[in-house]
Amino acid sequence: MKLTLTIWRQRNPGSRGKFVSYPMNDVNPEMSMLECLDVLNESLIERGEEPVAFEHDCREGICGSCGFMVSGIAHGPEPATTVCQLTMRHFKDGDELVLEPWRSRSFPFLKDLVVDRRSFDRIIQAGGYISVSTGSPQDGNDIPVGKEVADRAMDAAACIGCGACVAACPNGSAALFTGAKIAHLGILPQGKPEQDRRAVRMVAQMNTEGFGSCTNIGECTGVCPKEIPLEVIAKMNHDYLAGAWKERHKVVTAITPVTDWELAKK
């Protein structure tokens, strides 16, 4: 099949970017979106041009590296699918696909389709864990966890941290990502002791990073490749409210965002 890929090309954060169209004449419908880009890149290199930079690693939809907008939809039109597993059979012969990077001020731009998502790591640093050091905890079966509880925790824990939720949100909110971790840990009995502090700190970090607020639009869950349910945001708000009241006398300090790569090395 024939397709046109119209791709955002920008060398670095300081330069001006533009859309460039690349006609593709021999696309196999079994290819993934990324394999289509591989084929394009091979031809670009052979023509002496620079290939399109894009992130990818496992190509099985689980590492969360890949992701860009496909004609305005994060990860493209197929539900519950990352671009590495989006096969071209979902498009029609002659289609034009517009590929552009996640747009969010909390994901600073790096090159072509690549952005910097370290803000997500810092949200996790701010409390997205259970504070147990390596050692000799109690036997795994000493903490019974009902099947439904374990299943709900797993539903939230399935988040791959790709950033599609932020890119799809008109407010640029990271509530689905943050809520997923707060829900995963807050639902489980092991996570209860830190429930208040976790929610307060993670939400503070999310705000410090410059992500927008959630206004219950639901675009995030619509594009989420792991179909993280919107209810994790309700859980975040719930834990945050309770925590903010109980911890009202404590000062919350957020981690300073680092966006510059030279600085990050120091």
Binding site: S32, L34, E35, D38, E42, I45, G48, P51, A53, D57, C58, R59, E60, G61, I62, C63, G64, S65, E78, T81, Q85, T87, L110, K111, V114, R117, R118, F120, D121, I124, Q125, A126, G128, Y129, I130, S131, V132, S133, T134, S136, P137, Q138, D139, G140, N141, P144, V145, G146, K147, A150, A153, M154, A157, I160, G161, L188, Q190, I255, W261, E262
Partner: protein
């Protein structure tokens, strides 16, 4: 070189306790004066970084991905073994040890394997405490499933995303230490050289992939947890970025590389569909619990699977191995799939595939139960192939998945360079010639959580570590050699892309050093690899510069190392005149086509030492002794 594995004397059950007690300790106030460099952030690297940070060391952790959470451990699906015996089905530490040594076809070190089985129990407890959402039964207790090569149910799992959940547990522990100021994370940073001073590993040169700048990082010890080298084959189930560069550069600085030819072909992957294919997708081995593998009895039978009546199907694993059936170990399952396809009985368009059929299990248990167990795997299969596995049998074919070989380490996980420790898939230590399913996660976490925190302390406490400055000649030599390497790749300006070379290299290694090998083919492959490598250095085209994000340049350095490693794999396979586990030499098989080991001549670890460019590497042997599990012809019949 005389290899001393430093295995504690005395009964194996007490070896690790004894070793721990004999180790020197670093007092808490002194730990903060030591900097440890951890390369890799998968299960082994993240768990090591977190645990060492908790102990009070200053840790610098490096990964080439944009976040430590992306490491390829995340893609492991099926589960993690532990000898808990929660199921009351006769499991024990000894049985897990026994199964692993036997599964590895008697080419692993007994003491290491025993310790792994002991640690397995603690791993589950640690991960539960971290909030890993393992599958639970209605009563709230942990659920288990069975896996290949075992007759007990000892595999713990979190849907089909066990690796993801275990990695996120380790990643969260790691990020907690970042927040505490104990660990500094260096994402998008790739190690390109090891700095060795006075025979000790004292630092690395690592390139910032965004600015392109190579930087020097000095520390008191270096820990490599950089995974396996399956991507030598180009098409593998590894992530696209998985590479051998860190371990290979360490090899060139003097660390020995053990058993490079021990590579694992996983039996259940989605078959190749075209030339553009960039990687292969694994379908978890856990599917073999409920799926039945078959091909038509007739050659070239092109009927749809539902039109082939029961008596014209060959459930060849059940037929040949009645006691293990579809749950034979991976090497056996893979070889048999290749054999039936070679006979012309393979299915699908290419004829390179066998059926994995769930219709009996669905009839017995209902579609809902199957969805509960494998739903996400079935969805993934359907996304890729556009076929519904609830209705039509899956088509699967073996693909390269894991590498048992890796840098040689002693019982303390230290390589032949003092101060260089190697964890997880990057070392060679625990799986012999074949790894059993659900054991990779176990090893990564055992090494990272429960072994390195002890052995690194012993090294630090018993070693004189001089102060090292950035201007030391060894440091500058490493730095300039890295810079020269980058310049060289950029300056060739030839005609062919990195991927085109990589694909060709992968094809050579897959054909001649893949599922089955023979002397003539291996010799031919060595010649082909050398010729292609020559062309690589004459005709490679790497666009762009070294001063910014340049993904072609990253790949070019990795593929250059794959060329050299691929040749070593073939050489090792050629030297090992026996069949064992994943290493199947056609010349050495039993009358019914099973692997024939030669314990008299090959019961050793082959540890290769670098002797300079173009020279034949030096073979060192660590003899293997089996005091507990007596080598026998592996039988799963």
């Amino acid at each position: 070189m005389k290899l001393d594995a430093r295995i504690p004397s005395g009964p194996i059950e007490q070896a690790w306790d004894k070793a721990q007690f004999d180790m020197k300790l670093v007092n808490p106030a002194n730990k903060r004066r030591h900097t440890l460099l951890v390369v890799g952030s998968g299960l082994a690297g993240a768990s090591a970084s977190a645990s060492l940070g908790e102990l009070g060391y200053n840790v610098k952790c490096f990964c080439f991905q944009d976040s430590p959470r992306r490491a390829h451990s995340i893609a492991a699906q099926g589960g993690i073994n532990a000898a808990k015996n929660y199921q009351n089905d006769g499991d024990s530490i000894y049985r897990l040890f026994y199964d692993t040594v036997k599964g590895g076809d008697f080419r692993a070190r007994e003491a290491n394997v025993y310790r792994l089985a002991q640690n397995s129990v603690k791993i589950i407890d640690q991960c539960v405490a971290q909030g890993v959402p393992f599958a639970r039964e209605y009563g709230g207790l942990l659920e288990n499933r069975s896996f290949g090569g075992a007759q007990v149910s000892r595999t713990f799992y979190a849907r089909g995303q066990t690796g993801q959940q275990l990695l996120l547990g380790a990643y969260q522990a790691l990020e907690r230490q970042v927040d505490a100021g104990q660990v500094t994370m260096f994402p998008r940073t790739e190690m390109l050289d090891l700095i060795v001073i006075d025979g000790q590993a004292r630092g690395i040169v690592a390139r910032n992939l965004i600015t392109g700048k190579p930087d020097v990082h000095i520390g008191d010890a270096v820990i490599l947890a950089t995974g396996g080298y399956g991507n030598v084959y180009y098409l593998s189930t590894n992530a696209k970025g998985s590479n051998a560069t860190a371990i290979w550069r360490a090899y060139k600085r003097g660390a020995l590389f053990a058993n490079p030819c021990f590579t694992q072909i996983h039996p259940t992957c989605i078959p190749v569909s075209g030339d553009y294919q960039s990687k292969l997708t694994l379908m978890s081995e856990s599917l073999r619990n409920d799926g039945r593998i078959w091909v038509p009895k007739q050659q070239g039978d092109k009927r749809r699977p539902d039109q082939i009546p029961e008596d014209e199907r060959d459930y060849y694993l059940e037929r040949k191995y009645p006691s293990f059936g579809n749950l034979v170990p991976r090497d056996v399952a893979s070889r048999n799939a290749k054999a039936v396809c070679d006979e012309g009985r393979g299915v699908g368009e290419t004829g390179l595939g066998v059926y994995l059929d769930f219709s009996d299990a669905i009839a017995r248990l209902g579609e809902e139960t199957i969805r509960e167990r494998y739903g996400n795997l079935f969805d993934m299969y359907q996304r890729i192939t556009d076929e519904n596995p609830y209705k039509v049998p899956m088509r699967i074919y073996p693909a390269i998945h894991y590498t048992m070989g890796g840098l040689w380490v002693d019982y303390q996980l230290q390589s032949t360079i003092p101060g260089l420790f190697v964890l997880g898939e990057a070392n060679f230590s625990d799986h012999g010639a074949n790894r059993l399913g659900a054991s990779a996660l176990m090893q990564g976490l055992s090494d990272g959580y429960f072994i390195i925190p002890y052995t690194i302390g012993n090294y630090i406490a018993s070693t004189r570590l001089a102060r090292v400055s950035d201007s030391a000649p060894e440091v500058q030599q490493s730095l300039s050699s890295v810079k020269a390497g980058i310049e060289k790749l950029l300056s060739i300006k030839g005609k062919r892309t990195v991927d085109s070379f990589h694909r060709e290299l992968g094809k050579i290694v897959w054909e001649e050093c893949g599922m089955s090998r023979n002397a003539a083919g291996l010799q031919k492959a060595i010649g082909q690899i050398r010729a292609l490598r020559e062309e690589y250095w004459q005709n490679l085209n790497v666009p762009g510069s070294g001063d910014d994000l340049n993904q072609s340049l990253e790949k070019a350095g990795r593929v250059a190392d794959f060329f050299e490693l691929g040749e070593l794999m073939c050489l090792d396979a050629l030297e090992r005149n026996e069949s064992c586990g994943g290493h199947f030499r056609e010349e050495y098989q039993t009358p019914d086509g099973e692997a024939r080991r030669d314990d008299e001549h090959f019961s050793y670890v082959a540890a290769w030492g670098y002797t300079g460019p173009g020279n034949r590497p030096e073979l060192n042997k660590e003899p293997l002794e089996f005091e507990y599990v007596h080598p026998s012809q592996r039988s799963y019949k």
